[in-house]
C-alpha cells in the first residue's frame, strides 16, 4: 500500500509537468487552431534563457518574470515571421515549418549552451510549509503553479473580452473580422501567451529532469497525450489529461508492462483517444459542414 501511494505521488508530480506543457499546447490550439510540434523545444529554449539570467546572479523571481517577457516577445515574433505567411497554405507545409522550428531551437540551444546536463534551481526548496512525506517541495510548488496557470487561462478564455475574441477568431475567422476583431493580432497574442506558458512549464520541468537541449522530447509526447486525452480545446481538460497520463504511465510502468515500455503508453493513449473519442474526455465535439 505504501509503495502504491509512493507511485501515485510520483505520478502526480510528473503529471504537473505534463499538464503545464499541455496548457501551452491548448493555448496555441485555442488561438490559432494549430498543433505546435516545436512547443517543447521553445519551452526548453526559454528555460535556457532563465538559466543564463540566474547564472548572472539575477534573483529567481526577477529572472522568472524576465524570461516570461522575453518568451512572449519571442512567440509573437515567431508568429509574425513564420506562421502568418503560412495562412491558407497546405497543412503539410505548416507542419514542416513547425519541424524546422523544432530543429532550429534544439540545435541553436546546443550550439550556445552545449549538450551537458545542468542542474536548475527550484524556487520552492526553501518553503518549509511545503515539506511532506510524499512529494518534494518543488513538486508541490510546481503543482500549485500549474493550478494557478490553469485558472488564469480558463479565466482568460471565459471571462475576458480578449479571450472571447480569441475563441471567436479560431472558430470563425470571417465573422470575427466582420465584428471588428483583428484575427491577426489574436493569433500573435496567442503565440506570445503560449510561449510564456511553455516557459513556465520549462522552468518547472528543469529542476526535475535537469536542463539540456533534449529535455523536452519525452515531456512533449506525454504533454500531447494529456492534451488530447483531456480535450485539446479546454485548459482544465488538458490539465486533467496530463495527470491521468502521468498516473497511468507510472502505475502501468511499475506494475504491468515494465518501466522501459513507458513511451508506448503515450503512443497507445494518443492513438486510442484519436480513434475512440477524438474530441477528448472533456472536449467539445467539432462538426464540419460539407
Amino acid at each position: 500500500m505504501q509503495g502504491l501511494l509512493h507511485q501515485l505521488a510520483t505520478g502526480v508530480s510528473s503529471g504537473g509537468i505534463y499538464a503545464s506543457l499541455a496548457l501551452a499546447l491548448v493555448m496555441i490550439y485555442r488561438s490559432t487552431g494549430h498543433v505546435n510540434f516545436a512547443q517543447g523545444e521553445m519551452a526548453m529554449f526559454s528555460t535556457f534563457i532563465a538559466w543564463s539570467l540566474l547564472d548572472r546572479g539575477v534573483p529567481y523571481w526577477a529572472a522568472f518574470c524576465l524570461t516570461l517577457a522575453v518568451s512572449f516577445v519571442g512567440g509573437v515574433a515567431v508568429e509574425r515571421v513564420l506562421i502568418r505567411p503560412m495562412a491558407g497554405r497546405r497543412e503539410m507545409l505548416l507542419v514542416t515549418v513547425f519541424l524546422g522550428l523544432f530543429m532550429i531551437c534544439n540545435s541553436v540551444a546546443g550550439w550556445i549552451w552545449g549538450y551537458d546536463t545542468r542542474p536548475f534551481e527550484s524556487p520552492f526548496e526553501s518553503f518549509t510549509f511545503l515539506q511532506n512525506p510524499y512529494e518534494t517541495p518543488h513538486d508541490l510548488g510546481a503543482m500549485l503553479v500549474t493550478f494557478v496557470l490553469m485558472l488564469a487561462l480558463f479565466g482568460f478564455f471565459q471571462l475576458t473580452r480578449a479571450g472571447l475574441a480569441m475563441r471567436g477568431s479560431t472558430e470563425n475567422p470571417v465573422s470575427s473580422r466582420l465584428v471588428g476583431i483583428s484575427v491577426d493580432r489574436m493569433s500573435a497574442l496567442g503565440w506570445g501567451m503560449a510561449a510564456a506558458t511553455g516557459a513556465i512549464a520549462g522552468m518547472m520541468v528543469a529542476p526535475t529532469v535537469f536542463l539540456e537541449p533534449n529535455m523536452m522530447a519525452s515531456v512533449l509526447v506525454y504533454g500531447f497525450a494529456g492534451a488530447l486525452l483531456g480535450g485539446i480545446d479546454n485548459p482544465w481538460g488538458a490539465v486533467a489529461g496530463g495527470y491521468i497520463v502521468a498516473i497511468l504511465e507510472n502505475l502501468l510502468g511499475v506494475y504491468v508492462i515494465g518501466t522501459e515500455m513507458r513511451m508506448s503508453v503515450a503512443l497507445v493513449l494518443i492513438v486510442g483517444t484519436l480513434v475512440v473519442k477524438p474530441e477528448g474526455l472533456f472536449g467539445q465535439r467539432k462538426l464540419a459542414r460539407v
Partner: protein, 339 residues
C-alpha cells in the same frame, strides 16, 4: 470523348524528352560509378540510393496522398529488423530476406494505417510522432528480446557475391540496392502517374468530392500507408545490410525528420524529388558536421523553412522551371511548334 486532365507538374514533350535524357545519364553514371570511385564514396552513394527509396515511399504518402507522417523511422526499423532476424537468426539468404522485409513492413504499415486513417493532417502527424518516439523502446521490449537481442543490437553479414562475379561485397551491395531502387522507382512512378495516383491526389485535395466520385477514401488511405511503409521498410532492409548492424537507437525520431526534410527539399508530390532529396540528406550533414555537432540540424531546420517560403516545390520545382525554360528556348530557335 476522352478528357485529359492537366496534372500539376505535367510538362510538354520537349521538357519530357529532357527529363528522359537526364534519367538516362544518371543511370549510366550510377552503373559505372563503382569503377570510378573508391570504397568510401561507393558506401555514400549506396546510402543515397537507399535513402531515395525511403523518400519515394514517404513522398507517395505525404506528397501525393497528403497524409503527414513523421514516424517513418519506425517502418525503416521494421524493415531493418526483419532482415536482421531472417538472415542472422534463421540463416536465410538476402533474396528471401528482402521480400520478407517488404511484406512485414507493408502489413505493419497497413495495420497502423487502419486507426490512423481516421485522423486528418496534424493529428496523424501527432500519432506518427508518438510511434517514432516509442519505436526504440518497443524494439527493446523483453518479450521479443530473444529475436531482437534488446539494446545490444544485431550484426548482419553483407550479402555474398553470387556466381563468382569479379566484384567485392561492397560493390555487389551497391548494385543490389541500385537494382531494387530502379525497380521500385518504376513501380512507384507508374502507381502515382496512373489512376491510383489521381485518386490519391483527389483524396488529398478534395476528400468529399473524391468520395462522391466513388473512391473509398479510407481504404485508399490505408493501402497508401501500407505501400509507403513497404518502400521505407525495403530501404531499411538495404540500410541494415549497408550498416551491417542494427540497434534500437539507430531508428530515432531524428531519422523521421531527415526523411521529411528530404521530401520537402527534394520536392513533395514528385518522383524525382525523392532523388534530389536523397542527394541532399546524403551530402549536406556530412559537410556540415565538420563545422560543429549542432550545425547539421540548424542547417536542416533553416533549409526546411527557407524551402517552404522560397521554393515550395523544392529542388524539383527549380529544376523543372529551368528545363522548361531551356526547352521553350530551343523550340523558339528551331522555329518549331504550332501556335
Amino acid at each position: 470523348m476522352a478528357v485529359t486532365l492537366a496534372r500539376p507538374g505535367s510538362r510538354d514533350a520537349a521538357s519530357r524528352r529532357f527529363g528522359r535524357l537526364a534519367i538516362g545519364v544518371l543511370l549510366l553514371v550510377l552503373l559505372f560509378a563503382p569503377m570510378l570511385f573508391g570504397s568510401y564514396r561507393i558506401f555514400q552513394i549506396t546510402t543515397m540510393v537507399i535513402d531515395a527509396i525511403a523518400l519515394l515511399g514517404l513522398n507517395i504518402l505525404t506528397g501525393y496522398n497528403g497524409q503527414i507522417s513523421i514516424g517513418h523511422s519506425a517502418f525503416y526499423a521494421v524493415g531493418a529488423y526483419t532482415v536482421a532476424i531472417v538472415t542472422a537468426e534463421l540463416g536465410l539468404p538476402y533474396w528471401v530476406a528482402l521480400p520478407c522485409a517488404a511484406m512485414v513492413s507493408f502489413v505493419i504499415g497497413f495495420l497502423f494505417g487502419l486507426p490512423a486513417l481516421r485522423l486528418g493532417g496534424a493529428y496523424l502527424a501527432l500519432a506518427t510522432f508518438a510511434l517514432a518516439v516509442a519505436m526504440p523502446q518497443l524494439l527493446k521490449y523483453k518479450l521479443i528480446e530473444p529475436w531482437t537481442k534488446g539494446t545490444l543490437g544485431m550484426s548482419i553479414a553483407k550479402p555474398a557475391v553470387p556466381f563468382g562475379l569479379p566484384i567485392d561485397q561492397d560493390r555487389f551491395l551497391y548494385y543490389l540496392a541500385l537494382l531494387v531502387a530502379v525497380g521500385m522507382f518504376a513501380i512507384g512512378r507508374n502507381l502515382v502517374m496512373g489512376k491510383v495516383g489521381d485518386a490519391m491526389m483527389a483524396v488529398r485535395d478534395q476528400p468529399t468530392a473524391a468520395a462522391a466520385m466513388g473512391i473509398d477514401n479510407s481504404l485508399l488511405k490505408t493501402k497508401t500507408f501500407g505501400v509507403s511503409a513497404m518502400y521505407t521498410g525495403v530501404a531499411g532492409a538495404l540500410g541494415a545490410y549497408a550498416a551491417q548492424y542494427v540497434a534500437p537507437d539507430s531508428f530515432t525520431f531524428m531519422l523521421s525528420i531527415s526523411l521529411m526534410v528530404g521530401i520537402v527539399i527534394g520536392g513533395a508530390g514528385t518522383v524525382s524529388g525523392a532523388i534530389y532529396g536523397a542527394v541532399f540528406i546524403g551530402l549536406v550533414p556530412d559537410y556540415a558536421s565538420e563545422i560543429s555537432k549542432a550545425v547539421p540540424w540548424a542547417l536542416y531546420g533553416s533549409c526546411l523553412i527557407a524551402c517552404v517560403f522560397v521554393m515550395p516545390d523544392g529542388i524539383h520545382g527549380v529544376a523543372s522551371a529551368i528545363t522548361a525554360r531551356i526547352a521553350s528556348h530551343s523550340k523558339e530557335r528551331n522555329g518549331g511548334g504550332v501556335r
